[in-house]
Homo-oligomer: 71 residues x 2
C-alpha cells in the first residue's frame, strides 16, 4: 500500500537474478514475482522493491544508498 | 520497530545536510533528529533512515539502488 510522502520502493541491480533470488529466499525467506527474465519483484519486505538484471553493483563507495537488512 | 528479515534502514549521502533536510521537510513533510553536524536521521518514512554528510552522490548510473518516493 503506497503512502504519500514516504519511501515506497527500492530497486537493486543484480548481475545474476537467479543468484539474487536464491540468496534472499534462503537467507531472508523472501518470495519473488518474476516479470520476464530481467526483473524480479518482492513485496512488503520492509518496503516493496525489486531486482533488475544489470552488470552494475550497488556500492556505498560509489555514493549508493546504504540499505540495512534486519535479521 | 525492526522486523526480522526485512529491509530496516536506508542511509543516503548528502553533500549539504541542511539543504537535504530543508528539501525533505518542505516537500515531503519529514522531520529529522540530528546526531551532531554530520548526520540527520528520519523515522517511519516508509522505512527508517538517515542522511550522512558526504561528497558522494547516490546514482543508479554507479549501480546505486533506485529509491522511489511516493508523493
Amino acid at each position: 500500500m503506497s503512502e504519500h510522502e514516504k519511501i515506497d520502493y527500492v530497486e537493486f541491480p543484480a548481475k545474476d537474478l537467479e543468484v539474487a533470488k536464491s540468496f534472499f529466499s534462503s537467507v531472508f525467506g523472501w518470495t519473488f514475482e518474476d516479470y520476464g527474465p530481467d526483473y524480479a519483484a518482492f513485496s512488503n519486505e520492509g518496503v516493496d522493491g525489486g531486482f533488475y538484471k544489470s552488470d552494475l553493483t550497488a556500492s556505498t563507495a560509489n555514493g549508493g544508498a546504504l540499505i540495512i537488512f534486519y535479521s
